[in-house]
Amino acid sequence: MNETKLENALAHSFPKIRRISETIGNIIGLVVIGILFWVYHYFDWPIWVYWVLVGLVILTIIGFIWSIFEPTYLYRSWSYQFDDEYLQLSYGIFQKEWVTVPMTKIQSVTTSQGPIMKRYNVRSIKVETVGSSHAIPALEEDVALALRERLAEFAKLKEVDE
């Protein structure tokens, strides 16, 4: 669907960052499940606990495999665009979403950066509006800061009759 491709893309390093953070998450998950297996043996819990845990392991492995491909698809699906009037976001692998927010309705802008993002010099931006919030997951540091300034500038404008 080409009509949803907007001007700007996410930071190039986004798939890599996402893959790393998902892998870390999955490893933590597996460790927790491993501990639960040990607890299960130690306390002699009923057998259904075992099957639940096996199920969780299978789900985590499926998630693991998916997390190798997903970031690339997600990166390709993401785009955004802004001008004086609207901020537009378009994203989604299976379900395509295309959100339009008038600049005047933006109430606050937050950028954040975790340790992995810091290493790749990217930031995420969260935009809060009257009723909802939207996040752009990864932008190059200078792009993110510039966008934040722009958004903050426009967010000052208020419509009559609010």
């Binding site: 379900q95 005047t104 208020k158 009559v160």
Partner: protein, 504 residues
């Protein structure tokens, strides 16, 4: 200025009312129980009631309100002092409620609902004298009328003075209001049949009889009487008929009490709703604070040709007594009347009767879409295999499937939409269908989505968000892609309708 002293009594009355059930549970039903939950629960409960009691009384001494330059100042907090400032312009609507409690003491309550992001959303006068309430309403509504405001301010200088003046002052009714709707007897009869809640008593009684029967046969005490009852079918008939009559009377009485006295009126800037026989309420909303309109029809209402019209406003829907939704104009309006009413009350909204329909292909899509509800329910039915009402599980699964399919077909039939100059209007929904109408400038956010399945059918969904508490979201599904993109382009022209504040 302090709140009315009877506020204390009112709050204590509410405290008692809301805790009565727990009190009975703790001190009557489980009176002798030594189970820890009940045993300690009693102490905790007593302590809680005592604390609430003391805080209600002290709160009255602490809580104060005042106004100055079209701004309300509310002071409260026993330990942590809290004052909030609420400009009159932020007030979205005004509700005056007179419950039975208020009737007895000859007073009323008043709520100014605001749309500010904060803890204290509304200014609530739980007990207030009628004159005082009217004065406050006039004060808030008097837009440019400085004269009134000045007069009010000078009044509030000394409290005693007001009391005296109130005695003398006659309520001056606002005369330029036009009454648009008062329910006719016929409407009320229809209304009481559409809220067919009383019919629920029939299956319940039947089920109860079914359940009680084996026990009755064993007990000797009632045997004679019940035997007689159960053996002669015409006696059962009489009993059921009697029960139905009681239920119907109850339902009708309830409807008449709730919706009997009802008046919708308006002037140039405001909409007024007066209603209620026992619990009276009065509701005012400024027209330009209305973000959109909604019209709802349940299956029964559709059969009777009725609909409910709701106003979407950014004030919090105040659902105190659960049943009366303040944002609702009237739940049982004849459809024609509803359209007419909308056009009279809010002439800026034009109701279109020529709406687009979904393409035939959308029906297949709606039917093809997997129903997670049905899958989960069937899985659960398959696993538990319940024998409800002597019917095997797969029949229930089929019944559910039938309802879902029916709902989707109806949704296809009901979905109609149109986008005109600065307004969007659409109908959707299956068994319960709704119409939604709003202005472009009131749509604060818009999104468009397309799933894989929708993509292969070349259709999409459009969602609009309006300001309300919580936000009001409306989605129309499976409209043709071109039209959906058209709606987006329409939204891009939003600027045409919007004025900006001049901020330096």
């Amino acid at each position: 200025m302090r709140f009315h002293p009877l506020t204390i009594a009112f709050r204590i009355y509410q405290l008692v009312k809301s805790n009565l059930f727990i009190a009975i549970l703790l001190f009557v039903i489980n009176k002798g129980s030594e189970f820890w939950l009940w045993k300690y629960g009693r102490y905790v409960f007593l302590l809680y009631v005592l604390v609430r009691f003391v805080s209600i009384i002290t709160a009255w001494f602490v809580e104060k309100y005042e106004w100055k330059d079209r701004v309300f100042q509310i002071h409260k907090g026993i330990f942590v002092k809290q004052s909030s400032t609420i400009p009159f312009s932020k007030i979205q609507n005004v509700t005056r409620k007179t419950t039975v409690f208020h009737k007895i003491v000859g007073l009323t309550s008043l709520t100014f609902e605001t749309a500010m992001d904060g803890v204290e959303d509304a200014i609530h006068f739980e007990v207030i004298s009628k004159n005082n309430a009217q004065e406050l309403i006039d004060l808030v509504q008097a837009k440019q009328d400085n004269h009134v405001q000045k007069a009010m301010e000078s009044k509030h200088v000394s409290e005693t003075e007001i009391e005296e003046e109130e005695e003398e002052k006659k309520q001056i009714p606002v005369t330029n209001r036009t009454v648009h709707f008062t329910p006719r007897r016929k409407d009320l009869w229809k209304a009481s049949f559409t809220s067919l809640s009383f019919l629920a008593i029939i299956p319940i009684t039947a089920g109860l009889l079914d359940y009680v029967e084996p026990f009755i046969k064993d007990t000797n005490q009632f045997e004679g009487m019940f035997r007689l009852l159960l053996n002669s079918s015409w006696l059962i008939g009489i009993v059921i008929a009697f029960a139905v009559i009681v239920a119907v009377t109850f339902g009708i009485a309830r409807t008449f009490i709730r919706y009997g006295k009802y008046e919708i009126s308006s002037d140039d800037t405001h909409i007024y709703i007066d209603r209620g026989v026992l619990n009276e309420s009065y509701f005012v909303i400024e027209k330009k604070k209305i973000q959109g309109l909604e019209m709802e029809q349940s299956v029964l209402k559709r059969l009777f040709g009725l609909a409910e019209v709701k106003l979407i406003s950014s004030a919090k829907p105040n659902i105190e007594d659960g049943s009366l939704n303040v944002n609702s104009l009237y739940p049982f309006l004849p459809v024609e009347k509803a359209y007419q009413l909308i056009e009279e009350l809010l002439p800026i909204y034009q109701i279109n009767s020529r709406l687009e329909r979904l393409p035939r292909i959308a029906l297949w899509l709606k039917l093809l879409r997997p129903s997670w509800l049905w899958i989960l329910a069937t899985a659960a039915l398959f696993y538990f295999k319940p024998e409800f009402l002597h019917v095997t599980w797969w029949v229930w699964s089929l019944v559910l499937l039938g309802i879902i399919v029916l709902n989707r077909i109806l949704d296809y039939i009901h979905t109609r939409y149109v986008v005109t100059d600065d307004q969007v209007q659409w109908w959707h929904g299956g068994l319960n269908s709704r119409m939604f109408i709003t202005k472009r400038k009131n749509v604060v956010e818009m999104s468009y989505s397309q799933s894989r399945l929708q993509k292969s059918f070349n259709v999409a969904s459009v969602t609009t968000i309006n300001r309300s508490t919580p936000i009001h979201m409306e989605t129309i599904q499976d409209i043709p892609l071109d039209y959906a993109l058209g709606i987006r382009n329409w939204y891009f022209k939003r600027r045409e309708d919007v004025e900006f504040e001049n901020k330096k």
